[in-house]
């Protein structure tokens, strides 16, 4: 059996990651930092874009506000005030962002911050490019109702991007690079014309190998995304709802 062969049921259910809510409130500084990094990795991009669109801030100011917000989360222990029974974590964070930006305006005490989130590479230039350039067309700014939708969409994109990245690392570690390339070709870049047969021909492998590789990659992607999601939820109930909304039809 070579390294790309399908191993059914292998490597399932790794230890459950701890929720960021618990992590941020931990007495262990390392645990706290890791939780904030996780939160930051999943949310900085949606928050940055939200600040740009909702508050119509220039790129540089939005960058400061985004970094400042995560410092605020830590300093004011905002996650301790989060009640999963009342709202979803991302709704709560969005409301916190609104309040933070509004307060920053009033106090006019904004300053360069971000030391505590230095471990997460915030690629603002890439985020800016995704928004369509530094000078935004006012017509491109969504309506207030669709801003929430846009925030949700960006959050999902961020979650999936992190999961894809982790899947890539997993494939590299297990010497399954070809599996990732197939996944990338079919599920990430695929268009209607691409088929398993075509991929099998391109990679000179059997169509069943393509089927098995994609099944493995999707299963692992789903597992990673769900683990990430669990980390970013306030509890099991919220996680179940979010999992359904993310992978089920409820959110569509």
């Amino acid at each position: 059996m070579n390294d790309e062969d399908f191993q059914p049921g292998g490597d399932r259910f790794p230890p459950t990651r701890r929720s960021v809510i618990e992590g941020v409130g931990s007495i262990d500084a390392e645990e706290r930092e890791r939780a904030l990094e996780t939160l930051c990795a999943a949310y900085w991009r949606p928050i940055y874009k939200y600040v740009r669109l909702r508050w119509n801030r220039p790129a540089e100011e939005a960058q400061d506000l985004t970094q400042g917000f995560f410092v605020e989360v830590l300093e004011r222990e905002l996650l301790k005030k989060f009640d999963p029974k009342k709202a979803r974590l991302r709704t709560y964070l969005r409301v916190c962002v609104d309040s933070f930006v509004s307060n920053e305006d009033k106090a006019s005490r904004r300053q360069k911050r971000g030391g505590s989130v230095a471990h997460v590479a915030l690629d603002f230039a890439a985020a800016e490019e995704e928004l369509g350039g530094p000078v935004m067309d006012p017509a491109a700014i969504p309506s207030p109702e669709s801003l929430e939708e846009s925030f949700e969409k960006e959050w999902l994109r961020s979650l999936f991007s992190l999961a894809v990245e982790e899947l890539r690392e997993l494939c590299n570690a297990r010497q399954r690079e070809r599996t990732f390339r197939l996944f990338e070709a079919y599920d990430l870049e695929g268009h209607d014309k691409i088929s398993y047969q075509q991929l099998a021909k391109d990679y000179s492998i059997a169509a069943t190998d393509v089927t098995n590789a994609l099944a493995w990659a999707r299963r692992e992607f789903r597992r990673i995304a769900l683990e990430r999601l669990r980390e970013l939820c306030g509890g099991e109930e919220e996680f179940q709802r979010e999992a359904r909304a993310t992978f089920g039809g409820n959110a569509r």
């Binding site: 399908f6 059914p8 049921g9 399932r12 259910f13 459950t16 029974k85 690629d123 890439a126 490019e129 995704e130 969409k153 999902l156 994109r157 999936f160 991007s161 992190l162 894809v164 990245e165 599920d187 990430l188 870049e189 695929g190 089927t211 098995n212 994609l214 099944a215 493995w216 999707r218 299963r219 992607f221 789903r222 597992r223 995304a225 769900l226 669990r230 099991e236 109930e237 179940q240 709802r241 999992a243 359904r244 993310t246 992978f247 089920g248 039809g249």
Partner: protein
């Protein structure tokens, strides 16, 4: 980190939802429905070369309670071998950790869609009797359905009636320990129609802290709505059947809405619906067979147990039942009178 386009996000979402059937005998064909806790796919059983319906949890396998509920549903179906109850073929866990079971693939329509083309009250009542037959069979085996509603009844292409979705079923004769293993008593699951008049039912979880509430408003008995799980018995399903009967006859399960809309069923049918769906379990039919018997009596033109007739109502019913003979005798008498009249002129 690579930027994912909107299309890529959608594709990922769709492909991650697809159940991982590697290592099983099934090949996925298409998604056919989404229920309260799972998704139903059409799949090909590659060993037996036949189409089956594959129901799989749409949430991850981490939630043991949901997985137990799905497996319990399969066990209930396996226990109930009846033409009116869809047979289960297989149960297990997929490679992605999600519980699944396969069952007969039913080609047909949901009851609420089917009756759009059935205008005859008699036909609708005969359909209802077949539903009663399946539910009575389940009750005889100690199983309550707890979620009887039009969306959970299928009418097959040959007119066969199948009671579906036994995910909320309750075993009446099992000990408390077994029950607690199956359903978390603190869990609260309430299915609510998405909008008024939509009988398909969307799932909503509402915490009440008052036991387990499982069912669909409009079809769920008051004791079930209170979460009084311990005291539920066959009469809870009878309430749902009463609401279902009203829906079959008026396309609305709510008696108050019917009254407001001035939809008249006739006194006997109205009495049967009201008795079946009485707020107090003591006021309902004691068994599904009794309810079915009353419907059969109505169809045969006999007096129903749910309604005490006045003299004139009885006369009217007898006239309707023996109309042919009464008209025949009347025609004979008229002819005799006419003959006598003309003979004496």
């Amino acid at each position: 980190m690579k930027f994912l386009s909107n299309n890529a996000v959608e594709r990922l979402r769709e492909s991650a939802e697809i159940p991982d059937l590697t290592g099983t005998r099934y090949r996925l064909i298409e998604r056919v429905a989404r229920g309260g806790m799972g998704v139903v796919y059409a799949a090909e059983d590659e060993q037996l070369k036949r189409r089956v319906a594959l129901k799989v949890l749409d949430v991850p396998g981490a939630d043991a309670d949901l997985a137990n509920r799905l497996i319990r549903e399969a066990l209930v179906l396996a226990r109930l071998e009846h033409p009116g109850i869809v047979p289960v073929h297989d149960v297990g866990t997929l490679n992605d950790g999600r519980a699944f079971y396969t069952m007969k693939f039913v080609q047909g329509q949901r009851l609420d869609q089917y009756i759009e083309n059935v205008s005859s009250v008699t036909q609708r009542l005969r359909l209802f009797l077949r539903i009663c037959d399946a539910v009575a069979f389940a009750h005889a085996y100690g199983v309550l359905h707890r979620d009887l509603k039009p969306a959970n009844i299928m009418v097959g292409s040959f007119g066969e009636v199948l009671v579906m979705d036994w995910g909320l079923a309750k075993f009446l004769q099992e000990d408390t320990d077994r029950q607690s293993q199956i359903a978390d008593p603190d869990a609260t699951i309430l299915e609510k129609p998405n909008k008024a008049g939509d009988s398909s039912g969307g799932v909503q979880a509402i915490a009440t802290g008052h036991g387990t509430i499982m069912g669909t408003p409009g079809y769920m008995s008051p004791e079930q709505a209170r979460g009084d799980v311990e005291h539920l018995d066959a009469r809870s399903d009878i309430f749902s059947l009463g609401a279902l009967l009203r829906f079959l006859l008026t396309k609305n399960s709510d008696s108050a809405a019917n009254a407001a809309g001035k939809q008249h069923l006739g006194k006997a049918l109205e009495a049967i619906c009201s008795k079946a769906a009485a707020p107090d379990p003591e006021g309902r039919y004691p068994s599904v067979s009794e309810l079915a018997l009353d419907i059969s009596r109505y169809l045969d033109g006999l007096a129903v147990a749910a309604h005490r007739e006045s003299f004139f109502e009885k006369l009217g019913r007898l006239y309707r039942r023996y109309r042919f003979f009464i008209l025949l005798i009347a025609a004979y008498l008229v002819m005799r009178v006419l003959i006598l009249f003309f003979m004496h002129r």
